[in-house]
């Protein structure tokens, strides 16, 4: 037995533990699907609450008009919601486009806040804080600037949160609008569906926990006020605010019938940039909230903290260490004598991954096709392996930022 064997053993245990956790989440998520599919969404109160729909935008001229128009077309009573677009230090023609929309829909509650590099330009959290300061709604809904929500999306979110006082926020589902654009977007489509039914629905079913996804969610105004708005240092402001809502004793529920469609990266370069930013943001949140693991008041969210720690630290480092040892062993630099699992077990595990992902896919219209099975298999050897690089790069960037004290600014997904 060598020290490398110990490292390898730890890595293998981490990888398999997470695999088992994810199996449990898929099972729970699917049971939640079977349950919610039968149940109707709660009804809106007689007097629907006033909702502020906030859309932070930075150089989103290409998509902002479509997003605002789809928000204007929501079937929620038009006089009971306002749309606040925070056009944050944009250098494109967003302000003109938004002004045009304001003129066209002069009878609607459409507010446009234009900031410059003095008043804004400090990232999504800061933009949301600016928008929040001008909002009036008792509920705050947030959509990304590249979203096309379905007409019922907001109604379902409001109805759900109003039906249960314990809910601090309700999140909806996001789908890939451009899923047929490239192989990458097909992978992303599979990933988002699988992730939501596993990580969101599964965690809700098992632990009554969800993580705000950054778009298509609603939360109570007083919660935002109590937590003092969004953490401007956080890139993953959604994950960050989720923890803060939990700490206040509220729950975050997943309502899969509220759907928004969003534009996903179509090239690996854009995807890599976006995902490594998310990874870095999540690392920030984990580091910030890690002490909660030892806080009795945070007992309910320990699973979530552990889950994030496991995904972004243990799994990534385990995969890197085991892959590195494998390569070094093959090159003869490192001697490992550790035993391994049988090939049959590995084969079963891969089969499990493929079948598990496929059953989450066929909950959605148009996804039950054989080609998706091949895509999942291809995804296993390509996209999933790329995730490891993304997560590792995000981790590296986080520590680099900490060392060089880099300021948080807008990191947005490039449009095409």
């Amino acid at each position: 037995m060598t020290p490398y064997d110990i490292l390898m053993l730890i890595s293998v245990i981490c990888i398999w533990s997470l695999l088992l956790v994810n199996v449990a989440l898929i099972v729970a998520g699917y049971l939640f699907y079977l349950q919610t599919d039968r149940l109707p969404v709660p009804s809106l109160p007689e007097t629907p609450p006033f909702v502020s729909v906030m859309v932070p935008a930075h150089n989103e001229g290409m998509v902002i008009v479509k997003t605002v128009e789809s928000l204007l077309a929501l079937n929620y009573p038009h006089d009971r919601y306002e749309i606040i677009v925070i056009n944050d230090n944009s250098s494109d023609n967003s302000s003109e486009l938004l002004a045009g929309l304001q003129r066209r829909y002069a009878d609607r509650n459409l507010i446009v806040i234009n900031t410059d590099k003095v008043t804004g330009g400090k990232g999504k959290s800061n933009a949301l804080n600016i928008g929040f300061a001008q909002s009036k709604g008792e509920l705050i809904a947030i959509y990304d600037a590249d979203n096309t929500p379905e007409k019922t999306a907001l109604t379902y979110l409001v109805a759900e949160i109003m039906a249960d006082a314990k809910l601090g926020a309700v999140i909806g589902k996001f789908r890939t609008r451009n899923r047929n654009a490239s192989l990458l977007t097909r992978f992303i489509n599979i990933e988002t569906l699988s992730f939501q039914w596993m990580a969101q629905a599964g965690r809700w079913k098992l632990f009554k926990l969800c993580t705000i996804p950054g778009t298509n969610f609603i939360m109570r105004r007083h919660i935002v006020e109590e937590i003092g708005g969004w953490d401007v240092k956080a890139i993953a402001e959604d994950t960050e605010i989720s923890f803060r809502i939990y700490m206040m004793g509220y729950r975050i529920k997943f309502q899969p019938k509220s759907v928004t469609w969003e534009q996903e990266p179509q090239t690996v370069k854009v995807w890599f940039k976006q995902r490594s930013r998310w990874a870095k943001g999540n690392v920030y949140v984990i580091v910030k909230n890690f002490p909660l693991l030892f806080n009795r008041k945070a007992a309910r969210i320990r699973f979530d903290i552990l889950y994030f720690v496991a995904i972004y630290f243990l799994l990534v480092s385990s995969l890197i260490v085991s892959d590195l040892l494998l390569v070094l062993h093959a090159l003869g630099y490192v001697k490992t004598t550790i035993a391994g699992f049988s090939s049959f077990l590995w084969m079963l595990a891969i089969t499990l991954f493929v079948v598990g992902t496929y059953i989450t896919l066929i909950t959605e219209k148009g996804e039950m096709k054989l080609s998706n099975l091949w895509l999942i298999m291809l995804m296993y050897v390509t996209y999933c392996q790329m995730w490891m690089v993304v997560a590792a790069y995000g981790l590296y960037n986080y520590f680099k930022d900490q060392i060089f004290k880099r300021e948080v600014k807008w990191y947005k997904t490039e449009r095409f």
Binding site: M1, T2, V27, A339, F341, L352, I362, T363
Partner: protein, 534 residues
């Protein structure tokens, strides 16, 4: 003649012992029952030319193999390299004259031959020592290019376009005549060879034809080789990766035809525990059980082999012992002639055997060549069966005894069809084939002795049961030894636990898949279903 040979014969045996010692060829003495015959005194073989690129090419090697078939060591050299006085060391000299335009009248050899009184054989040419010419009463005539029919023993063959042939126009009355040459152009007939009183002359020798057999009749007398000779079937080119099922079928067919045979099997020195080797050994066991005898073929010589390597002895003895351990009794060896002219091969690779099937040289490579060949007590002359088939049978059934031990060889057949054809040809040949294990043969290694006698096989004196003993060969053989692993027990337990968990999860997933499929159809495919797309 016998009287005259008495004392010199004993001297010749002593001379052989000295010659072998000088040549540093350590050939294990044959067992008492299988000593080389009295003809084992060495022969000095002299030739004027190797006749390269002519029909006679290879006849010197043929003659060497013929001598070897009688257990006679040979010291071969070109007449050009003959050193005066060399003849004094020999009591038997054979001269091959392939180039009539080269005269030896002024050479040192001519003067030595004039004083030489030992046994003398010449093939071709008209320059003979006076004593020999007189003893044989030879009248030689040069024949023009012609087609000649040769008959020897029970066989005949037409030789096309023979040139530079000196035929025996006349010989003394007491000279024994061997075979007949008939010239197609004018019907002239002459004996193929004559011999008398230790002198012999043959007109012509070309490898690959009936002249090999015809000369053997004369050599038998010239070398005073006694005893009965037999014909053997020799199957060559048998490797672990040969079609072993075909080999077994061949064994069955020859067994059913009542033909004993000998399989010359390639040795294996490494990875002898592999399943392929186990299957090889089992096939050889089967062959032995079907009245086949086993001899070990010479290993291929690597271009990088050197005398300093010294591993051949250990490798060969290891293979012999492996065969013995698996109930297989190797009775001899098969090798190219050049092996007998190499100190290393002879001492390290052949010294275990007293019986060797000597084959024509292929692409041989010497490690440490020597001038005198090693000889063996039993060394059949190997002739391809296809060559033998070219001989015309003069009578339906062979009546004349063979002049030497003859091994008719086949390479293991590429397919069943060619095997069937060959087996049918063997059966039609009317030759009574001998069983190798009926004769006395011995193989000695440092650890064991393999012997045969009267049809029985003995290993270290114990009779070998040659019944078929098929064993199952492990198909899951681990080709590389499993490395010592850490946490093996932990992983073993975890493996079982995870198999159960993952298996159960997979079962649940398959159930979900079934539910999902039905629900999907109901929800999205049937008219009136819920459509929640954009």
């Amino acid at each position: 003649m016998r009287k005259r040979f008495g004392i010199p014969g004993t001297a010749a045996l002593i001379a052989l012992a000295i010659a072998l010692a000088c040549a540093s060829v350590s050939v294990r003495p044959a067992s008492a029952a299988n000593k080389p015959p009295s003809s084992a005194a060495p022969v000095l073989l002299l030739y004027d030319s190797l006749a390269l690129s002519t029909p006679r090419e290879g006849n010197v090697e043929t003659l060497e193999r013929l001598f070897a078939a009688y257990g006679v060591p040979v010291a071969a050299m070109s007449i050009d390299r003959y050193a005066k006085g060399t003849l004094k060391s020999y009591r038997r000299v054979a001269v091959v004259r392939n180039a009539p335009d080269l005269s030896i009248a002024d050479d040192a050899l001519a003067s030595d031959l004039a004083a030489y009184d030992g046994d003398y054989l010449q093939i071709g040419g008209q320059e003979l020592p006076g004593r020999v010419q007189a003893r044989l009463g030879l009248a030689l005539t040069a024949a023009p290019l012609d087609t000649i029919r040769l008959e020897a023993g029970d066989y005949g063959q037409t030789l096309s376009a023979v040139e530079d042939l000196d035929y025996i126009a006349g010989a003394s009355g007491d000279a024994k005549r061997y075979g007949t040459l008939t010239f197609a152009s004018d019907g002239t007939r002459s004996p193929y060879a004559v011999s008398a009183g230790g002198c012999a002359y043959a007109s012509y020798l070309a490898g690959g034809g009936l002249t090999e057999l015809a000369l053997a009749y004369a050599l038998k007398d010239w070398l005073h080789a006694g005893g009965e000779f037999g014909a053997y079937v020799l199957i060559k080119e048998i490797y672990p990766f040969s079609d072993l099922e075909l080999l077994k079928t061949l064994a069955d067919k020859l067994y059913d035809a009542g033909v004993p045979f000998t399989a010359s099997v390639k040795p294996v020195f490494y990875n002898t525990d592999y399943p392929a080797m186990q299957r090889y050994l089992q096939a050889l066991q089967y062959v032995q059980a079907r009245n086949g005898s086993i001899v070990v073929d010479a290993p291929a010589v690597a271009a990088t082999s050197t005398a300093a390597d010294g591993s051949l002895h250990g490798k060969m003895s290891g293979f012999i012992e492996l065969l013995a351990a698996n109930g297989i009794a190797p009775l001899g060896m098969g090798a190219g002639l050049f092996w007998t002219y190499d100190n290393v091969y002879a001492s390290q690779g052949m010294s275990f055997f007293d019986s060797v099937f000597l084959e024509p040289n292929a692409d041989g490579q010497h490690v440490q060549s020597t001038g005198t060949s090693a000889a063996f007590a039993f060394s059949p002359y190997v002739m391809p069966f296809t060559q033998f088939q070219d001989f015309e049978r003069l009578s339906a059934v062979p009546r004349t005894p063979l002049p030497l031990n003859l091994a008719l060889s086949f390479d293991l057949f590429p397919d069943a069809a060619s095997m069937d054809v060959a087996v049918a040809a063997i059966s039609r040949s009317w030759i009574s084939f001998a069983d190798l294990k009926s004769g006395p043969h011995a193989v000695h290694t440092d650890r064991l002795t393999v012997q045969s006698s009267g049809g029985s096989l003995l290993i270290d004196g114990k009779a070998l049961d040659i019944g078929k003993h098929e064993r199952a060969v492990d198909a899951d053989y681990a080709y590389t030894a499993a490395a010592k692993t850490s946490f093996a027990k932990l992983f073993g337990v975890q493996n079982r636990i995870l198999l159960v968990i993952i298996g159960a999860a997979l079962a649940v997933f398959v159930l979900f898949l079934f539910i999902g499929y039905r629900r999907y159809k109901r929800k999205f495919l049937y008219p009136g279903g819920r459509h929640d797309a954009l």
